[in-house]
């Protein structure tokens, strides 16, 4: 593998890692902070108010 090809592979895997981790973060915030399912809403109620999320 040439140095250029190796650098390209590393850049691509880095970008994929960033995209995957950003998606995980967004999913955690959406599920814990915004999904309106009753059990989730009730359990996360005080946190959602204190975090400034739209709650009800």
């Amino acid at each position: 593998m040439t140095i250029n090809a190796r650098t390209e592979t590393r850049t691509a895997s880095g970008l994929i890692a960033i995209a995957v981790c950003a998606f995980i973060g967004l999913a955690m915030i959406t599920i814990a902070g915004h999904v309106q399912a009753t059990s989730l809403h009730d359990a996360a109620h005080d946190t959602r108010h204190a975090a400034g999320f739209p709650c009800h």
Binding site: C21, G25, L26, M28, G33, A44, A50, A51, G52, C55
Partner: protein, 234 residues
Amino acid sequence: MLTRIVTSALFAGFAAGLIAAALQLVFVQPLLLHAEHYESGRLVHFGAQKASDAHVDTGGIDWHRDGLSFLFTTLIYTGYAFLLVSAMAAASMRGISVRAKTGLVWGLAGFLAVHFAPAVGLPPELPGAAAADVGVRQIWWFATAAATAVGLGLLAFGHGWMPWMAGAILIAAPHVIGAPHPLNLTGPAPPELAAGFATRALGVGLVAWALLGLFSAWFWEREARHAENLPQTA
């Protein structure tokens, strides 16, 4: 890269989340519980014959309820950490150095994006406060946080007037468009409580995000040193 982001985000997010949860419990929760007395009608402020007592017994620690708050606050800050460290990783790939000390600036930018900018249109709400449809508010919240984050990124890392102008427009746009507001204001709690609640919620967010930025950058830098010391396997 994946391991480095995940490790940094988990440690930093969990630590900042625990501190945020503790601060919320001490400073924000008493006002929230006080407001619930007005929401339930146990206390009446507007139109009452007798002035409301400013000091009410809101009970002690409720292990079940407060335990869930700890759990969800740490989850949310871990989610924030995943986004923040991903942004730090993207900056590192572009040759921008991320050091523990500059983490503070990253954290303050995060606070502006997900706490302060959304709060300008939709201040942190007391239970029972009048508000527009929750779905519409959530769309405005996400759009404002995203536009502010991208706008701040353009201001910080853009070169020349074009990215700076685009950044400023992105930050201003949600507020020019305006947040969704209710048709009638029917909140039952005294305005003094609402003001205190909003300010304290933002204050806790500021401290937690400053720490989240510091922790994230510190772990990011530490993991980089760790990776350099390991023999290359690929």
